[in-house]
Symmetry: C2
Subunit: 431 residues, 2 copies
């Protein structure tokens, strides 16, 4: 796979019984791994254990023995007080001490929300002797950074927002200072509307051309992401190699590569329309508002997106968009004439330059031999005319709807002329 | 926390470099934990390691030493052939043998898709001697079940669909036969519109009342879930105790408890409206289609949901819903008169019985001292009149929009009379 150079290796231990019941997906662990990798720290193992002292002690002790550097999350909150802190203090052979500054911070926070601390809150101000307190401005449990004979341990609360803020403001900078300027960086080229196997053929012998970078194919409902990774290079070299490799990958992916990094296709569409000073609208049936929700999820979308119509019933297709009832009668609501009329109706009645319409069979019921579940018509209309395309999506109701929304945005983007795959569109993300 | 009775303990080892870069969230691990818990297996640890033979060997060997029962996922696919299989064969001291039946199955699959296997595919048919092959009808890499001196190991491919199908059809039944009829089951009571601390006060000394069940508070953007868990009880007793405890929890949560299990508030709203034979519509500004998308995500929603209007621009608020331009001018788009007019306009123009309207400041820009980011007005209109409510949500743009959509559905549900918290609404899920 790759031969990483020497550097800081680390393990994550996430604490929470919910993780072992499988009801909670470990997003904290993924977030920590992503942020620390960007600082050149190689996360070599992630372990999840229940809120049981013996399990926590064993997992933390083993991780320290293997790598000498551990980040924990969870087991610090007000309802599970001290479990992790006490265990770590024992492992490091230090006592817990009452910290006046932490207590003051906690009192101040309670005052601000008009609450009175309970006696049990005092234990939240106890910290292992010698630990650096990472002040938590977003909650009550501080983070803790402790170095000693067993190694380095960083304890973070499990509440995602508090964990994320402490990670960003307190933990990442401290690790950056320790990794002698080498980074692990990734850059993703995002594609849609093309299967993984076709992309792999287009890429050819790219692995050897981009070495020492590595390439991973990550398929999902929005398309296939092509993730390039640089392992422990100086930041400038990592960025340069990633940028060059991303250009190569994007040019081979061709018209299906719509952006890089965290690019959302909705943002790409809004930017393309904004540059051309065009106003957009949507007319949605089977996606029921998803395309509008995708577009309005982007800050500043109101400059480009006027609005849309969710015409789930046939009456509203006629009433709000002027689709002739006779057409629905003759061809069905999932048909080329209807999707064309929906798109044209949206341009005319919502007074925009460009509109996209979606009508399809999302299932699980409503399919027929002629129009099986997964059949979706997408139409694009402007003053210049209207075009329509029939597509077929796999998966359950949710996947079909998500894929249809993404395909609608892709066709909008193509109608807007797409975008050149220049270094600007393929610039490295900062993560 | 709880004192589980004796039974089968097990560890999960998930294999994939992406998990350690943090770009992929470990949904496979959560799925396996959930399904096996339902069979009475207690998952005591989850470990994620990279696709490196040494790391895989170490993690699997340690897990076998600790618990003697391990499920792995990943490291079996066609591009990473044999890594896990070879390591496990070594640990169990058995050779890999070419399995004609697996090879025939693979050839048959290739024929069906009109493809020809490469020489390298032959290694996919090699299995550790003594292993039971779990036939994979959904892909090329079979699952493997192997018992020997080090313990029991089950190897599953990493592709989520294939993993899930093998888990359900091949793995879960085999574990069910080993756990002597005891199950670990959970039942969630879902609440919204009430903070965790208020809920905790309402619950009082419930932990002792529901013992041996346990209760966990799980806050999220849609509200706070209250998860009850039964640990290794006979199925009938687990279900009965969970049902009784859920009734108690729901009655203390009061009007904020809208369902149980995997209940989606959108489905609860559609069911309540369907029973009363009422048609619904939405008028969305800041949520941009999210409320419509939530409702249409539910199969069969077309029987109740007519459609909606996404009036992101002020022109469309006037043009599509008849909101007087003078009102927008006088009070702003985020105001009580405008949300009332939006809701009334939706009832009138979309011809429905009940409509919900949402207008707010989702940020990051557009806030003012008077109407800070997070300010959202929600209106509900019917032939009987219109009511409006101002709320304030925290978080970023996404959270504010998601919370506003959930609050809109909650007010719709309240307007529909809510629902009695009977055993029917609090019946145990099968997971």
């Amino acid at each position: 796979m790759h031969t990483p150079q020497a550097g800081l290796d680390l393990e994550l231990v996430t604490i929470g019984t919910e993780l072992l019941l499988g009801y909670t997906v470990d997003t904290n662990g993924a977030e920590i791994a992503r942020v620390l990798s960007a600082q050149g720290v190689r996360v070599v193992r992630r372990t999840a254990v229940a809120d049981r002292p013996d399990d926590i002690r064993q997992a933390v002790a083993e991780a320290l023995r293997r790598t000498g550097a551990v980040v924990t999350t969870g087991g610090l909150g007000p309802t599970r007080d001290d479990i992790t802190k006490q265990i770590v203090a024992d492992l490091f052979g230090v006592p817990l001490r009452f910290d006046e500054a932490v207590w003051e911070h906690l009192l101040e926070r309670f005052r601000r929300f008009g609450r009175v601390p309970a006696a049990s809150n005092r234990s939240q101000a106890e910290v292992p002797e010698g630990a650096t307190v990472l002040t938590n401005q977003w909650g009550t449990a501080p983070g803790l950074w402790l170095a000693g004979a067993p190694g380095l341990i960083v304890m973070l609360p499990g509440v995602p927002l508090e964990m994320r803020k402490l990670l960003e403001h307190e933990v990442a900078p401290r690790f950056a200072a320790r990794t002698s300027g080498q980074v692990i960086r990734s850059l993703t080229v995002r594609t849609t509307g093309v299967p993984e196997s076709t992309l792999a053929e287009r890429m050819g012998e790219i692995e050897s051309e981009i070495a020492p970078l590595t390439l991973a194919y990550l398929p999902g409902v929005e398309g296939v992401d092509l993730r390039l990774s640089a392992w422990r290079l100086p930041p400038d070299e990592a960025d340069r190699r990633l940028r060059e490799a991303a250009e190569l990958v994007a040019s081979r992916a061709g018209e299906h590569a719509y952006g890089s990094g965290e690019s959302d296709l909705a943002a790409v569409v809004l930017e393309a329309a904004g540059k051309r000073r065009l106003r957009l609208a949507t007319a949605e049936s089977c996606t029921g508002g998803l395309v509008g929700a995708r577009l309005t999820d982007i800050p500043g979308s109101s400059a480009v997106f006027a609005g849309g119509v969710v015409c789930y019933s046939n009456e509203l297709k006629t009433g709000l968009l002027g689709v002739p009832a006779a057409q629905i009668e003759a061809h069905g609501a999932v048909s080329e004439p209807v999707v064309r009329a929906m798109a044209e109706g949206a341009v005319a009645r919502l007074g925009v330059d460009l509109a996209v319409a979606v009508t399809g069979v999302a299932g699980p019921d409503g399919g027929s031999e002629d129009k099986p579940v997964g059949t979706v018509w997408i139409g694009i209309a402007s003053a210049g005319g209207v075009e329509a395309r029939r597509t077929m999506f796999g998966g359950g109701r949710q996947e079909i709807r998500a894929r249809a929304a993404q395909a609608a945005l892709f066709l909008l983007w193509r109608a807007l002329g797409g975008a050149p795959r220049s270094p600007e569109t393929a610039r490295p993300s900062t993560s």
